[in-house]
């Protein structure tokens, strides 16, 4: 038996005592998706959790989630595609005899919830026969709450035509630059409507909006067969359509066009040691790969050994290992405004938190979930569990991991002024790092030669290679708050089956001494 959304709200109020009213955005969400949301999630949760208990589960949860997606893509003066979609379903997770089982379905009915819960239990039981070490969970307090991410203008309320016109104008701004041959642009919007119920008594509704506007300009030299690209330096954020309206995209597109053309004639880099000044539009991805991933506790405990890899960090190094120079402080933060990994609660009901991972250059703490925390003697999770869909098994994912800025008023120019021979790098380019996060190589979008404290001109074919702790140990200056940005990436892959996570890394401009730079266009064979 199903109930309407408004019946659910009444029932929820009676059952839980805390949800006597829900915020208006819940009604807005219903309006946006019409009759399609006509299920009583609370009732379905009761069925899943009571069935799991009867089948011997010591813990169970159910997530009933809807995902709305909209994307518009264009090239030059034409629209390539406009698409809109929605995806709705549920996943049940059970812990039986210390073994996880999970099952999921897009058919959101009482009968199917019971069938799928039985299926999850059957999988857990089959595997428990051969289980070597039982999974244990850190406790989490019961929570009954609802939350909406921070945005001013819901992008799903903005007419498609406005989005098309915006992208075509952006393309024109780039194409107006002499020498630009092509421009591809797109924007993607995601709305997650997440419901979680756990056997600990938690019932949580969350509503999130994320946006990913991006473009790439290409300049070609048909005579020589050469071509160069320059992609947007503005990255994805947890934000509404105001992100489009408050950023000067046309100036950024024009600048991208000019720089793509400039790259065709830029000086190719001479390999060697350089001081690097890294802009936040570039540095965020270096942080992601060299700081975010090695401080995931599941990697350190070999859970990712078969795919994403392990970590050079191990629990015995906590509080001891000198990760970087003394000015380097990293915070993990699931509460950071505009952060793509910002939530109120994770996917097992643990409240979002902020904590130091590296303090005064020393590695001090991990990213944890309820099944990881007990393995290092902790009785509390930091709330890093996440699934990218109702159909995916939730597992440890990265929070926003951000580099704290200098306390003083240090500008990017101040950092450049202290460099005799160096390179400043903007934007995300090629990025590659080994499976334990020691050795990495990063490229960028634009590269600028620094000589005697000043930017001299553009370079091309630049990548730098380093070792994580050497690199962060070579960080001798940070920009202040005025240089701080919070770029993010929509699609961080990890896990098996592989899942995608959206995550941001706030950071100021930063300077690194004597880093090895190579030329990516150099002849590779003698």
């Amino acid at each position: 038996m199903t109930f309407s959304r408004r019946d659910f709200i009444k029932t929820a109020g009676l059952t839980l005592g805390a949800l006597t009213t829900l915020p208006s955005w819940v009604y807005d969400a219903q309006a946006a998706t019409g009759a399609l949301i006509d299920v009583n999630k609370n009732n379905l949760a009761d069925i899943a959790l009571s069935t799991a208990k009867k089948l011997g589960a010591t813990y169970a949860d159910i997530r009933i989630n809807r995902y709305r997606l909209e994307s518009v893509s264009t090239r030059e003066r034409q629209v390539q595609n406009v698409s809109s979609g929605q995806n709705f379903g549920f996943g049940v997770r059970v812990l039986i005899k210390g073994t996880w089982g999970f099952a999921a379905s897009p058919i959101v009915t009482a009968q199917e919830v019971e069938r799928v819960t039985r299926e999850a239990a059957a999988i857990a039981r089959a595997n428990s026969v051969y289980q070597r070490r039982k999974i244990e969970l850190a406790p989490a307090p019961k929570v009954v709450a609802s939350w909406k991410s921070s945005f001013q203008k819901d992008p799903f309320d903005v007419p498609v035509d406005d989005k098309i016109q915006f992208l075509l104008k952006l393309n024109e701004a780039a194409l107006a630059v002499k020498g630009v041959s092509f421009v591809n642009s797109s924007m993607a919007w995601v709305n997650e409507q997440k419901f979680l119920a756990t056997s600990d008594g938690s019932r949580i509704e969350q509503y999130l909006i994320r946006g990913n506007p991006t473009f790439t300009v290409t300049a070609t030299d048909r005579a020589t067969g050469d071509f160069q690209t320059r992609s947007s330096l503005v990255e994805a954020q947890s934000a509404g359509y105001e992100y489009i309206e408050t950023t000067d995209w046309l100036a950024e597109a024009k600048r991208a066009g000019e720089e793509a053309v400039m790259k065709l004639k830029a000086k190719t880099v001479e390999p060697g040691k350089y001081d690097l000044v890294l802009h936040p539009s570039h540095l965020f991805l270096t942080i992601h790969e060299s700081v975010g991933h090695p401080t995931e506790l599941d990697r350190a405990l070999l859970w990712e050994a078969n795919y994403a890899g392990t970590s050079f960090l191990t629990p015995d190094k906590t509080g001891k290992l000198q990760f970087g120079s003394k000015i380097v402080n990293f915070v993990a933060d699931r509460t950071q405004p505009a952060g793509l990994a910002t939530v109120a609660y994770d996917d097992e009901g643990v409240e979002a938190q902020k904590w130091h991972i590296v303090k005064d250059g020393v590695f001090v703490d991990w990213q944890t979930t309820r099944d990881l925390a007990p393995l290092i003697g902790k009785n509390k999770s930091y709330g890093c569990l996440h699934a990218d869909s109702w159909g995916s098994v939730p597992f440890p994912r990265m929070p926003n991991v951000s580099l704290e800025p200098a306390k003083g008023n240090v500008s990017t120019d101040d950092l450049i002024a202290g460099v005799d021979k160096g390179i400043m790098i903007f934007g995300r380019g090629s990025y590659s790092i080994d499976q334990q996060r020691y050795n990495f190589q990063f490229g960028g979008q634009t590269f600028w030669e620094i000589k005697n404290g000043k930017i001299e001109g553009m370079l091309r074919d630049v990548a730098y290679q380093s070792r994580t702790t050497d690199f962060w140990g070579a960080c001798d200056a940070l920009g202040g708050q005025s240089t701080y940005l919070i770029p993010g990436t929509f699609n961080d892959g990890k896990g098996e089956p592989s899942q995608s996570n959206a995550v941001s890394h706030g950071c100021p401009s930063a300077r690194f001494r004597q880093i090895n730079v190579l030329n990516t266009a150099a002849k590779t064979q003698g």
Binding site: V79, A305, T310, D434, T520
Partner: protein, 447 residues
Amino acid sequence: MLLTEKESKSITDKILSLVKADDATVSVSSDKLSHLRFAHNTFLTSGQRESRGANITVWIEGKRGTSSTNDLDDASLKAMVDEAERIARLAPVDREYLPTLGKQTYKPVNAYVDATANISVTARAKAVGDIITECEKNKVIGAGFHQARAQAGGFATKNGNFGFDSSTNVSLSMTARTLDGSSSGYFLRSHFDVGRLDTKSIAREAVRKAIEGRNAKTIEPGVYTVILEPQAVADLLSGLAFGFDARSAEEGRSAYSAAGGKTRLGEKIFDERVSIYSDPWNPDLPGSQSAQGGIPAQRIYLVKNGVLENLIYSRFWAKRAGKEPTPGPVNSIMETTAPISAPEDMIKSTKRGILISRFWYIRSTDPRTQSLTGLTRDGVWYIENGKIQYPLKNLRFNQSIIQMLAPGNVEMVGTSERVGGSEGGNASLLPTLKLKAFNFTSQSEAV
């Protein structure tokens, strides 16, 4: 439950009956995924997910809109069609629109096995339990992933075409690490028939590599002769067959563009020992019966004996260029017409070189030369005077694929095997390759 051909046809007919637009293409899909992940010699997560979806693209007076849903009831399908038509009315004219295809004839592909689609969770649990026991006996720490997937669905157009595809795939990947963390081995294989997946031999090979990889030494980076096992070839080249896009080549922004606004079509771009083709009916690597745009797939060569034989023309770009659209690729097969070499013979013929099991975190550094960077992982050995001498620590490479496969750099080619890329992607049929020169740029202490 997976959709049958009859059910798929019924749903696509229903969707098309709701369409008021001038033209439309629709698809309906169903998917069943069952998986088990283990690590540190214990079970981690395991689950099953069924999903399905429908998608429509419509054109109204040449204006295009797309919408999708994962709810297949009548109201949701109608909402999906309405949404696509609403978008199309708002969109500017799609200048690349071509009328959708009329009825086509597809030659069936044998890619589905029921036992794979309905895999036994108890049998799988036992197979993985046995693998963990083997790891414990050999004093290694095992991690791995077993997954079985089945997909079925149909596609149709307003102009009368309909097709149905069903396929299965089952794979096991496994990593073994020594207890001291000094060595790691990996092996991955897949098949569409679960009866053809030998889980024990996959585990045995991963364990062997871990044990034989102990006491690895460092080697200076530089240019070396390399022997790449099929897994390493897959990690580098499993997407190669899909990169021969005609449009980007003719627009001057591809490795297959040439000076003066031309392309490299007809040029000998690779060594004559290398041929790359797609064959939907290959018995070990069946592909889809339909290629891009729904045209019936055919066996096609991209590279034949080193010569760039075909660039891939979409329906739109083909019409603009006055050519036929390319009926593929739908899978990726690399073979040689030269005599096949056994891996042992490759080693015997190597004076000084490196044997590589796998690559990792491969990213493009320069699309003009298809230059890549990445690292070796889970098994590297030093060869001298025709023999494997000792294991090596990992290395980072920076290497152009165009130069790697260039005439003169491919010395020997082995038998092609079905292997999947370890960072994802579909399986390919790829051989062991012996390459004269391969460029390593730094060392990595990662295990």
